[in-house]
């Protein structure tokens, strides 16, 4: 699991530029899937036909980033955010673009604090416009943040862990469930960071009976933590509600029962501000039974996050057991 997390976090996939990581993920399920494809919005979808109700497992593969919208005569770039990055967390950091170009995010001279993206520019070391245009173009996307580090106590820190961890869990869950003969699809969703824009298209096409979404949720065991009582390392969290969904009680009961049977401590996620794929899927077509199993992180929805591998392992076991139990 850890190897997959690190490998997937090494991929650069700002929202709207998920093509490469989508290929990596679909390659990893090709041997078991009856069908793999990418849809119009960039979702990567694999299906294994089998027994019982069709269950969809979803995890978003995109991460917040920046997109080039202007190149000036001196070779400097201007960017806009894709997803929830703020100007202040983007300033003074290295940016790596999907084509390998790297640069430094700088603040216009005389500005005290970065408040808006139009105060920022990116220096890619180009001496003039022509050189910059050979390495960047309008619409090119990039990300900020460092590669994954192991902290030695079962915790990982780095860029895109939210939600490559979820991708690794969904990938492994799909493999386990497909090998056990279940009718299961896995969807690595695109464009979650700008507001869960793509997940419903995959759910519309697949029409699953149940969908379970794996994503990060912010732990509150930090200075100034909000009152959600989520702790890093204390186990997976069932998504009771966020800004776009309230969980169906039947699925909540099922997941609680499985946690109890597996001896997993279950936490409860109540995240009033998060807009999730779960909510988008739930409201697709005539409504779809949809729920979220989340793993706690320190800083969700940002460039970098910290996770505890014990939570990740328990999330996988709980997910697989819950889907299996739903069949019965």
């Amino acid at each position: 699991m850890k190897e997959w997390i690190v490998r997937l976090a090494g991929e650069i996939a700002p929202s709207g530029s998920e093509g490469r990581i989508a290929s990596v993920l679909l390659d990893a399920v090709q041997d078991l899937a009856d069908e793999t494809r990418m849809d119009a919005l960039g979702n990567a979808i694999a299906t294994k036909r089998g027994d019982g109700p069709h269950v969809m497992i979803a995890a978003h593969m995109d991460e917040p980033g920046v997109m080039v919208i202007d190149i000036d005569d001196n070779g400097y770039l201007r960017v806009i955010p894709t997803g929830g990055l703020t100007a202040s967390e983007t300033a003074f950091r290295q940016v790596t673009f999907t084509n390998g170009t790297i640069g430094l995010v700088c603040l216009e001279d005389g500005e005290k604090r970065p408040e808006q993206f139009d105060q920022l520019f990116i220096d890619i070391g180009a001496k003039h416009r022509e050189e910059a245009e050979s390495r960047a173009f309008i619409g090119l996307s990039g990300v900020i943040g460092g590669s994954v580090a192991e902290l030695g106590n079962g915790r990982l820190l780095g860029r895109a862990l939210d939600n490559r961890v979820g991708c690794a869990v969904a990938l492994q869950a799909f493999r386990d469930l497909a090998q056990r003969g279940l009718h299961v699809s896995v969807v690595f969703t695109a464009q979650n960071a700008p507001g869960a824009r793509a997940a419903q298209a995959a759910a519309f096409a697949l029409e699953p009976e149940l969908a379970i979404v794996v994503d990060a949720t912010p732990a509150s065991d930090v200075p100034g933590g909000k009152r959600t009582a989520l702790q890093l390392g204390a186990g997976p969290a069932f998504k009771v509600m966020d800004a776009g969904t309230v969980a169906p009680l039947a699925v909540k009961q099922l997941v609680e029962d499985m946690a109890h049977a597996l001896g997993i401590t279950l936490q409860y996620e109540v995240w009033p501000s998060g807009r999730s794929d779960t909510g988008a899927i739930q409201l697709t077509r005539a409504g779809i039974l949809a729920a979220g199993i989340s793993y706690p992180v320190h800083t969700a929805g940002a460039a970098e996050a910290m996770v505890d591998l014990a939570d990740v392992d328990a999330t996988l076991r709980l997910l697989v057991a819950s889907v299996e139990a739903y069949r019965k």
């Binding site: 919005l41 979702n43 201007r78 806009i80 955010p81 995959a202």
Partner: protein, 345 residues
């Protein structure tokens, strides 16, 4: 001239009938079928049974406007009309502007306290919309109520005119310029099913387009829009969005859409191959109907072709007629290249 007729037509959000009637008249006999759906979208169809990708072209009929919410019947303000905006309007553009209320075009003028009477601090900031009113010259509330009701909508009373070097000024180029492009495009012959969706209620949240896309279920969709242009006084390159006269603009990202890169590049390359000037729209704010369309059903591939509009959402907007012409050329070239298989789904 169609752009003039469309620009001067009365069509604030939710009141698109007059615009729809103009378009219906233009397309009568030139398409296989036209229908108005329950929200008021006009959908024109050509070659529904043909093989090949189902292509949807979109332009919204509505314009930003005002809605009367109250007819004052108190003392000094008796007969004046309180209003709110329909769509995003900067209150700073409203003061002293003439308007027409309703399709019967009851004339009015937006009034405010004159500069002589404003306290020093009032002069420092824009007059908020709540302090503005529409004056229709009524002598009292009963007089006003005999011609206007709460819920009536108003538009700017701006006449279309061509001026300067291939420029035009008028109201509602956002998005009557798109409507004009789409009417013209529906006259073209293509070997695949072509749907023209003239949509309602774009300006308050892309409301009509979603229903239009739902019933059409297109394989490819292109929104035709008027978009932000601020290539004037002191705007740096990255703050302009688009430049007037530099051709139609293609989107990489706006507030509702991250462009399908493959389709955006296909349109860009098509422009280059056909020698049509084209530019990237360089701002995140704002959006168009494609933001709603691409998320419908199992997802829709496509993008938008935008005409730069200076002073967008204001009483008098400015476009370059060259940009309009080049947007039409680009649209025709894109439709032709889709027919030739240059873009594969």
């Amino acid at each position: 001239m169609l752009l003039k007729t469309l620009s001067e037509a009365f069509g604030p959000t939710g009141f698109e009938d007059e615009v729809r009637n103009v378009i219906r008249g233009e397309l009568e006999g030139r398409v296989d079928e036209m229908k108005t759906d329950v929200l008021g979208n006009l959908i024109a169809v050509k070659g529904a049974a043909k093989p090949g990708p189902k292509v949807m072209l979109d332009a919204h009929m509505d314009e930003v406007g005002l809605m009367v919410v109250q007819i004052c019947d108190g003392g000094a303000d008796a007969g004046l009309l309180k209003f709110r905006s329909l769509g995003g309007i900067d209150p700073r553009v409203l003061v002293s502007k003439p308007v027409f209320i309703g399709p019967d075009r009851i004339p009015g003028v937006i009034g405010a306290k004159p500069v002589h009477l404003q306290a020093p601090e009032e002069r420092q900031k824009p007059i908020p919309m709540e302090k503005l009113y529409i004056d229709i010259g009524a002598k009292d509330a009963a007089d006003a109520k005999s011609v206007v009701k709460p819920g009536d909508a108003a538009v700017f009373a701006t006449r279309y005119a061509e001026f300067g070097e291939r420029a035009a000024k008028g109201k509602s180029f956002d998005d009557r310029v798109g409507c004009a492009l789409l009417v013209e495009a529906m006259r073209s012959e293509v070997p695949y099913p072509l749907y023209g969706a003239f949509t309602v209620q774009e300006e308050i949240g892309l409301r009509g387009a979603r229903a239009a896309a739902y019933q059409i279920q297109p394989d490819i969709a292109i929104a035709l829009e008027g978009t932000v242009c601020f290539d004037v006084v002191g705007a740096p390159s990255h703050g302009q969005s688009t430049v007037l006269g530099k051709g139609p603009a293609l989107t990489v990202q706006d507030a509702q859409t991250i462009a399908d890169r493959r389709f955006a590049e296909f349109m860009w390359e098509t422009a280059k191959r056909h020698g049509i000037p084209v530019q990237w729209r360089r701002v995140k704010g704002g959006s168009n109907d494609f933001g709603a369309i691409h998320r419908v059903g199992k997802g829709v591939v496509g993008g938008s072709i935008s005409v730069p509009v200076r002073y967008i959402h204001a009483p008098t907007q400015v476009v370059s007629l060259d940009d309009v012409e080049n947007a039409q050329r680009l649209l025709q070239a894109v439709l032709k290249e889709i027919a030739e298989g240059s873009f594969t789904l």
